[in-house]
């Protein structure tokens, strides 16, 4: 397996006297040098307020920003750069969508369909819309393998459905949603489809055109970019008819004392000074991923996940959630140790330098549905190694002893 760790300075550090074994990439990815350096270089060489100045530096800052938009457009296969709106993160993307699309195009008696797999960010905004507009929020539930069965899609998406917003990959179970089927059914009843790509775009290629989704959202920080930058993709036709959300500088054409006219896309949705450094960062991250190649990312992660599932399965007191198969897990493994609370597990393995997540993973309705209070979650990215898995399993084996159980 190729070694990608060397590009990531944080993966050379130690924690509690042990080399860091970072297994929480589903929460946020670590950053490679080319990304960190691209952002620093922007501030050292090109920084200015974009769109606002006539001078060379501002033109270059504007170009840096707009070229980043173009990089992202290509990266996700969108048709026009106007369809790429830079936001802060996935959460802001969905709030923008809920406020500007949901509050205006969903009404009394309409139905919004999401799944029980959703992260809170693609869930609470729709609760808000449903409540404000007198619409109904419906859930697609999952089978034992953690997947959305066809019947749910067939039965829950109806003529009343106006919007279906679905996670592409579950951040708890790693399962991949049947986007094609959902899009087909949703479009057949005239509903639009929004896709939460926060957990998919780090791991495999997204082509919004091929997927046929109307909206897509993701965060830079989960795909190697700095925090503070995210994306909302929307079909031009839909974005065009949506009213502005944030108002202020740069999203206007003319401003009068009591009124204003909005700028065309994408400025319409980008009020105030934008995060150019962040945009440069997400473009650098996309380039880095392209350089590695998604096929290598998939290969590495599949091997790692398979190896980890095998090793974890040999430990009798570990329960793994979701599908048993390593394919289509996107590097996410949720599990529990008998009698051990996930928080204790996380603390104990942390003493050995291993960073895993414990808790509800911002998916409380899913955990409640699974009858769980909390789980441990180890999530892999292509920079992890077989050795990381070994160290994880070794540390997990010590947990029950630390908690006073025989073994």
């Amino acid at each position: 397996m190729k070694r990608y760790k060397d590009d990531f300075p944080i993966l050379q550090t130690t924690v509690n006297g042990h080399p860091l074994v970072y297994l929480d990439s589903a929460a946020t990815a670590q950053k490679p040098n080319p990304v960190i350096d691209a952002v620093a270089a922007y501030y050292r060489e090109t920084n200015a307020n974009p769109h606002r100045g006539n001078y060379d530096l501002s033109v270059r800052a504007t170009e840096a920003y707009e070229q980043s938009r173009e990089v992202i457009r290509k990266f996700i296969g969108a048709e026009k750069s106007e369809e790429i709106i830079f936001t802060r993160n996935t959460t802001e993307s969905f709030n923008l969508l809920a406020y500007s699309y949901g509050m205006n195009f969903i009404g009394k008696g309409d139905e919004i369909v999401i799944s029980i797999l959703e992260h809170h960010s693609n869930l609470i905004p729709w609760q808000q819309v449903a409540k404000a507009k007198g619409a109904t929020l419906k859930y697609l539930y999952i089978n034992n393998e953690g997947e959305i069965p066809d019947e749910e899609i067939e039965n829950k998406i109806t003529e009343k459905t106006k919007l279906v917003s679905i996670t592409h990959v579950s951040n708890v179970l790693g399962s991949i949603s049947p986007v094609e089927k959902i899009v087909k059914k949703a479009h057949s009843v005239g509903a639009v489809v929004a896709l939460d790509c926060a957990q998919s775009i780090p791991h495999f290629e997204i082509d919004v055109k091929k997927l046929g989704v109307d909206f897509a959202a993701f965060s830079g920080h989960k795909m190697l970019a700095p925090m503070g930058i995210g994306v909302l993709y929307g079909r031009e036709e839909l974005l065009d008819k949506m009213p502005p959300f944030f108002t202020g500088g740069d999203m206007i054409e003319y401003v009068y004392e009591q009124d204003f006219t909005a700028a065309p896309l994408p400025q319409k949705f980008e009020a105030g000074t934008q995060n150019v450094g962040g945009a440069v960062g997400i473009a650098a991250a996309a380039h880095y991923i392209e350089k590695i190649g998604y096929e290598n990312i998939i290969k590495t992660e599949t091997e790692l996940t398979k190896y980890a599932l095998e090793k974890l399965s040999t430990v009798p007191y570990i329960t793994i959630y979701g599908k048993k198969n390593s394919v289509g897990r996107c590097g996410v493994i949720s599990f529990n140790i008998k009698d051990a609370h996930p928080h204790d597990v996380a603390s104990i393995v942390d003493a050995g330098g291993v960073a895993i997540r414990s808790g509800h993973h911002c998916a409380q309705p899913l955990l409640r549905y699974l009858g769980l209070n909390a789980t441990c979650r180890a999530s892999f990215y292509f920079y992890n190694t077989f050795e990381d898995v070994d160290i994880l399993v070794e540390n997990l084996k010590s947990v029950r002893k630390w908690l006073g159980y025989g073994a």
Partner: protein, 143 residues
């Protein structure tokens, strides 16, 4: 700071034993304490009479730290007066916040001193203080 300074023999035993984890007869002070960010939930049951805590127990879910901390607290306050319990809460919180470091002063906490080092695991402090906060609220409600 080794793990053994947090996951001590005392913590392990209290967590595993479940000695104080049950219902009591005719409790007259019942309060639920929650830690939303962890999902920990404990319910304290107390029978208080004439300023004395005659009996105490708890139920609920949580990590070893919160379970042990609750159990240790119950050992400490059961049979004592409400005033003593309040004093213990104050001392315990002082210890956690590093405001009280004097060994002599901490002696009154008995086994709860085992949680002294929890501040080295900032993410777990909330687990350690959940029961004590809940007791504080319960006693404040009573008076």
């Amino acid at each position: 700071m080794g793990l053994e300074d947090i996951y001590t023999q005392i913590i392990m035993e209290h967590n595993a034993s479940g000695r104080n984890k049950h219902h009591i007869d005719s409790p007259n002070l019942v309060l639920k304490g929650v830690n939303p960010s962890c999902g920990d939930e404990i319910t304290l049951e107390l029978r208080v009479k004439d300023g004395k805590i005659e009996d105490a127990s708890f139920t609920g879910v949580g990590c070893a730290i919160s379970q042990a901390s609750t159990s240790i607290m119950i050992d400490l306050i059961k049979g004592g007066t409400v005033e003593e319990a309040k004093e213990h809460i104050k001392t315990f919180m002082g210890m956690i916040r590093h405001e009280i470091t004097d060994e002599k002063q901490l002696e009154s906490l008995d086994e709860a001193v085992a949680l002294k080092n929890i501040s080295h695991m900032p993410a777990r402090v909330k687990c350690a203080v959940l029961a004590w906060h809940t007791l504080e609220n319960a006693l404040a409600k009573k008076s």
